[in-house]
């Protein structure tokens, strides 16, 4: 087996990333460190106005963009985190493949749905 093949099999069965996993996890962490506490306070305050109050909150493009960044950073952060957990505990190749694929689908869907919803909220449609 050539070194190239060995590297390919290691990448398929274990840590896919390296430097970029490290940077992505910590970069998204710094973004969330700022945005998550803000949203935890701002969302219940806006929710006091009920449905209309929340629509008003997200009609402000600054709020919509900030929550959009929060959603995308969360998706990246949780994708990398769940990859770590699956690789630690799941060793059967088939189960690991299914879970890692499911992880990508769920995180991408959450980010996509969140961003589309925020766009619609900001545009008032």
């Amino acid at each position: 087996m050539s070194n190239k093949q060995r590297i390919a099999s290691v990448r398929a069965n274990g840590k896919g990333g390296g430097t970029w996993t490290f940077i992505g996890q910590r970069g998204s962490a710094l973004v969330l460190l700022a945005l998550a506490p803000w949203f935890a306070l701002a969302a219940p305050l806006a929710a006091r106005g009920g449905y209309e109050g929340l629509r008003d909150f997200f009609a402000n493009p600054v709020h919509a963009i900030a929550v959009g960044v929060l959603v995308v950073a969360s998706a990246l952060h949780m994708w990398l985190g769940v990859v770590e957990i699956v690789e630690d505990y799941i060793h059967k190749p088939a189960s690991k493949f299914v879970l890692l694929s499911l992880n990508i689908i769920v995180c991408a869907a959450a980010a996509g749905a969140g961003v589309v919803a925020l766009y619609a909220l900001a545009m008032g449609t």
Partner: protein, 135 residues
């Protein structure tokens, strides 16, 4: 052979002590970081659904809002705030550890305790802030 092995073992340190150990706060911080990470992942999926329902209109939003205001929903939200409080502080601790700081036992233990305290501090602080900001 058997006596040889035991004689050799007797001269060596016997480790690990599988029955003589206790929970350390650093172990608790480690596993809680995972557990709260999974909880917050579910919370983020819920946030995306909540945003989609809000964008879809009152017909979709009303039942979800009612669920969040039910006792079960309130407990879930309380749990999410507690998980966020811990995960943020523990994450901050990991960033500091990545920089090579706080590795001495007392500071590693203290920072782990501070992170664990986030489980209580975050919900209380948020509740107090929302009370103070009552218009």
């Amino acid at each position: 052979m058997a006596t040889g092995v035991s004689a050799q073992n007797a001269s060596r340190p016997v480790a690990p002590h599988l029955q003589i150990w206790r929970w350390h706060v650093t172990m608790l911080a480690s596993i809680l970081h995972r557990a709260t990470g999974v909880a917050l992942t579910l919370g983020a999926i819920g946030l995306a659904g909540w945003l989609a329902a809000l964008a879809a209109g009152p017909a979709a939003f009303t039942p979800i809002d009612a669920l969040l205001h039910s006792p079960l929903g309130q407990i879930a939200l309380y749990g999410l705030v507690a998980a966020l409080g811990f995960h943020l502080l523990a994450g901050l601790r990991h960033l500091v550890l990545d920089a090579g700081l706080l590795f001495k036992k007392p500071s590693a233990n203290l920072s782990a305790w501070i992170a664990v305290s986030g489980l209580v501090i975050a919900p209380v602080a948020l509740w107090a802030a929302l009370m103070l900001l009552q218009g």
